[in-house]
Amino acid sequence: MEKDFRASPVHLRPSANVASPTAGTTRSISIVIPVTASTWLVVPLYNEAKVVREVIQHARTVFPNIVCVDDGSSDDSVAEALAGGAIVVQHPFNLGQGAALRTGLDYALSDKSAKYFVTFDSDGQHRVEDALAMIDRLATGTVDVVVGSRFLDQRTQPGALKKLVLKTAVMFERLSTGVKLTDAHNGLRAFNRTAATKIRIDQNRMAHASEIVAEIRRNDLRYTEMPVHVVYTDYSKSKGQSIWNSVNIISDLYFK
């Protein structure tokens, strides 16, 4: 897979007053600063030993900085993620995907040169190309948050029941948060530093997705949606979010 750098070439000219062997001649240096170099991928990890190494290796062909937050996995996930080349931060026990995201973002934010942050799943459902497109969008500086959506185009085809549940969730979220999104719970999101710092994630478990949307509104962050293709492999389908979780999500959000 060839490297794909989004580059902004910078030309430098040494001052003519500087005494140097080449004084009097003009020499320009082109420096390529890829936007992916200041991006961190935040990958929450829970028992995905089968696929995580490959997912990380593939992502690293484009994104050099990847932090995996292991949420108390009981299998070889940590070793596999390390083998894939990710940095691994480990929760002492299972807290939930929301907590893992916040931990990962905190870790990435401690890198002062980091500008962009992408939440990315460890099970292979998200595509690196989609993440890259979202970072490009963020780099224009017109938005703080880019949220992926499965429903902006016809590429992704979730099952009929899942589609119905998701659409209901979208309607519910629009009413309660006022944020207009077409896909309620898409795990592929990109933040700039402002958004990553301001967004609170107090919901440790599955309700974090709705909380992030509400936080976008609360902090008046500029947001946009971009089409993404979620790959439903047999592996990932067997682990999908069950409908029962909707009950838990709603009760998590409303009972303080």
């Binding site: 750098f5 240096i29 082109s30 420096i31 390529v32 600063i33 890829p34 170099a37 050099p64 900085n65 937050v69 080349g85 990710a86 940095i87 691994v88 931060v89 480990q90 929760h91 002492p92 026990f93 807290l95 907590a99 916040r102 931990t103 905190d106 870790y107 401690s110 890198d111 040169s113 107090d202 440790n204 409303y254 009972f255 303080k256």
Partner: protein, 132 residues
């Protein structure tokens, strides 16, 4: 039906208060104080009811309930639900504290990321980042 109006109003109001308490975030100190005052009240009421059993029947008839024991049952249900809600709220707060602690532990033992300099090498090639 009319003679039961008083008890109905009381019970419904209490449940409305519970519903509100669930949703409204209240500061820890105030919530704790309220909880303690209510416990005190329940203790006092219990003492009175044991010392003067007829009092129960009087109060019950006042609010439209037939027997003193029925009133005790209603009060028990209310106290039980209030206690459960209060516990659930405290549990959520504890969960938040535990999360912060676990996160602190995770980040404290996390590997430091490589400090990348913002300067690139002079020959124009971009420096590769190496992971630790």
């Amino acid at each position: 039906m009319d003679n039961q109006l008083v008890i109905k109003i009381i019970l419904i109001s209490l449940f409305v208060v519970f519903g509100v308490a669930l949703v409204l975030p209240v500061s820890g100190a105030r919530r704790l104080a309220i909880r303690r005052l209510l416990l005190l009240l329940v203790a006092l009421a219990g003492i009175l009811a044991i010392a003067f059993p007829e009092l129960l029947n009087v109060v019950a008839n006042l609010v439209g309930v037939g027997r003193g024991t029925d009133l005790v049952l209603y009060v028990l249900v209310v106290v039980f639900i209030g206690n459960s809600i209060s516990n659930s709220i405290r549990h959520r707060h504890l969960e938040r504290e535990v999360t912060k602690l676990a996160r602190n532990v995770a980040l404290s033992s996390a590997p430091p990321h490589v400090e990348r300099s913002s300067e690139q090498s002079q020959d124009g090639s971009a420096t590769e980042t190496t992971s630790p």
